[in-house]
Symmetry: C2
Subunit: 461 residues, 2 copies
């Protein structure tokens, strides 16, 4: 029986005999009694096993080590804490022993130590909470889109185009790196001709353009998969490999896009709060952050919507001393975003109609010729959580913008053709999955919400 089943049906089980299997997280031995904290990963709660010295005449129980895997049969009895139950041990079977040098001991390990032991940290209570929330959040996202008829589309990870332009990408190759003869004075293109795909290929930084292809056939679609950036910056929020959600909707303008983003965010937060009670309780304690309270604030807020121009005006008139002066036509800094969400609006805020020069080529060019139909969602405690835009579908304007930015129209022929073959108003957004998880779990570092993180110099496991 799983420990989850035991807890969920506990009323009927008192005095009943059950057999459970799991791992020992902690074993406290007193003179006449022993207490074993057993977990099996099926739920956040551990089951307390209790035995007396008399029950353990042969010392089999007493000898059990932390980390060991056991099968235990016992009688369910009310626990010390009212809402819990515990198991009075009748018999135990050692399924897999654990050596004395087991790195996880019943003390508080530093988060850096656990990161280095990424293959063991899923066993700790902290990471049982984090990775369960991650799994539930993924369910929430798939469920949201499935219930609304969105098509799930798997866009390619290996790609010959680079949608974001100057992104730092990883090259994918089957060439023997040590054996490429640069002495032959071959050009880059010539070398790539011998490569697996016959051209230079890299890991995708987004699936958006391919998602647009599908939106022009299925209406509402979404991607949910890995993306890659060769980020050399060693920050708490950047990783070389992370997961993205990118919905794309036909017959959707910027205003409707904000409606979807708002509904999406609120719905998945409700889902996570409902399903992760024990995990969030633990994480609130661990992080000292009011995780649910701030999520509920978002759920019950009306998300403010201001143009970039208006946002800059608010910042300039705020009387705040900013390190960077807020300027029309320029990007906002973290301190600006913080002021807007935490001080001015005290709520999440959509900032839309961004200066075109700081945004991507595929965004809808507004009539003012200064701005594009882009929108960023800022959330208190999370910063920029989603970025989206209405897409440019006017062939001439799109091509002109690509030329201005030096993006090759040749390699993007198919994307340009979308404009010619029954294009309609459409829009979409991207959300970094780990960014959501950092917000929901209160963990500070992206490395701690990914099972095995990939950053510069780190590729273990």
């Amino acid at each position: 029986m799983k420990i989850k089943e035991l807890f969920s049906g506990q009323a009927t089980q008192i005095e009943g005999e059950v057999t459970v299997r799991g791992w020992i997280r902690n074993h406290r031995k007193q003179k006449n009694m022993g207490f074993i904290e057993l977990y099996d990963g099926s739920c956040f709660k551990s089951l307390q096993l209790v035995y007396t010295a008399e029950q353990d005449a042969d010392g089999k129980l007493k000898g059990l080590r932390n980390g060991a895997c056991i099968e235990v049969t016992g009688i369910v009895q009310p626990g010390f804490q009212k809402e819990l139950i515990e198991l009075n041990v009748k018999d135990v079977l050692l399924l897999g022993d654990c050596t004395e040098d087991y790195p996880l001991q019943p003390k508080r390990h530093s988060i850096e130590f656990l990161r280095e032991n990424a293959y063991l940290r899923p066993r700790t209570r902290l990471f049982q909470a984090v990775f369960r929330v991650r799994s539930v959040a993924a369910q929430a996202i798939h469920t949201y889109f499935t219930e609304r008829g969105f098509l799930y589309v798997n866009t390619p990870l290996i790609t010959a185009n680079d949608a974001e332009g100057a992104g730092n990408t990883f090259t994918v190759t089957t060439l023997d790196i040590a054996d490429v003869k640069s002495g032959d004075k071959k050009t880059f293109e010539e070398i790539c001709k011998d490569d697996f795909f016959g051209r230079h290929a890299s890991l995708a930084v987004t699936g958006q353009l391919e998602a647009e292809v599908f939106a022009m056939a299925f209406g509402d679609v979404y991607t949910f998969g890995p993306t890659f950036r060769a980020e050399h910056s060693n920050t708490k929020t950047h990783a070389a490999e992370f997961w993205m959600i990118e919905p794309e909707m036909a017959f959707c303008d910027l205003e409707q896009l904000m409606d979807v983003e708002e509904d999406f965010l609120k719905t998945i937060l409700v889902y996570i709060i409902e399903k992760c009670d024990d995990e969030l309780t633990f994480l609130e304690n661990f992080t000292k952050l009011p995780l649910r309270e701030r999520m509920k604030k978002v759920i019950h807020s009306q998300i403010a919507r201001v143009s970039h121009k208006e946002a800059i005006r608010i910042l300039r008139e705020s009387g705040e001393q900013f390190e960077f002066e807020p300027k029309y036509g320029e990007d906002t800094a973290k301190e600006h975003e913080k002021y807007l969400t935490e001080k001015h609006f005290k709520a999440p805020v959509f900032i839309y109609d961004w200066p075109k020069d700081i945004k991507a080529f595929y965004m809808y060019q507004n009539d003012d010729e200064q701005t594009v139909g882009a929108v960023d969602l800022l959330v208190p405690g999370a910063g920029e959580l989603m970025g989206g835009s209405q897409r440019e579908t006017r062939y001439d304007r799109l091509l002109a913008r690509m030329n201005e930015l030096g993006i090759s129209a040749d390699s993007m022929w198919w994307y340009l053709n979308l404009c010619r073959y029954g294009a309609c108003e459409h829009a979409g957004f991207g959300m970094g999955f780990e960014r959501l998880l950092i917000y929901v779990t209160g963990m500070e570092n992206i490395r701690d919400v990914i099972p095995f993180h990939r950053t510069q110099g780190n590729c273990e496991y």
Copy 2:
């Protein structure tokens, strides 16, 4: 309104006025009337738009081209076919025109032509069916595991280890290929030290070993994500990038693994049949294959279970003329698998306890010292659909096997350590998502069940 909503609530809509938006798949013009087939991707069915010459006095309707995107308002009326409805057009708005050179015309295009135009093929009925089935099958899989408490885990795509040993992998690098100075006589390791991860990194061929890490913490887990093989073979079933499902379960032996595989397969087939009625009807017509009939046979069959030895005996005693002689201790050929599933058992069959020399290092070594606890599931019409095994958890045996096969224990220190820290009996299987889709949709080529296929020389879009 989406066309799906219109069809699902059709009884109440007759005589009602509705507005729908979508794309023109076909426009038939008769002398006094016109018929437009409109689709919006929300469901497989198209909506027929009808207009008379009188209604179209200004010729606005008549001029509409295939591929164009329109918004149309009209009155719902019973269709020519009893079960359908159609729309009598009152007004139309051209949202996005389509040029005359639109590659998709209302005739049957070859599947090769559509493959080359992969950015347009999602608009055809065939690929509307295929990619909807793909999306529904993904839902089915996530739903199956979610309902059973499995943790969804995202294993890393960029990896420094190669679980399958000799797999052809893609290198992931930020080195400038054209600028690596082999003249410096640097060793491969030295060159890789300058690379992004400080070592040689490649794209993962499996997430199994990392999934095992999580199974030893959460009990039941599964992965569902992309995997990569630098396959130089140009076949109908191989792609360089494809999606895999890899569940891993603690406290699970080979027999229980087969139970899970059987239940999993039947459950997702039921789900797909339920949700994809229109799509499967079309695909049955297109492929001339009894898709649902053969799926239902699987659903209602008891899957046979025979050892590899027994399977070879059956083959050798069959009296069949095989091109390759079935041999104890060797792999089976496609013709053997076909005979077993289609002639002998007339049902799917599990073949278990395979000769150890043809299987991977991590599989449980049976007492006979000849075989390992591996199991392949063969399905009529699909071939090998799943491959799984109980895992070796005895440290000495695992290490010995790695040494025999020349697999570096140094780089696998963490995997080996799993044996030392509370290991328990566990097992898992892998299923190629596209292999399932080939079976369910009846499509012959893996290139036609992936949105944008990646094979040698092909990296367009």
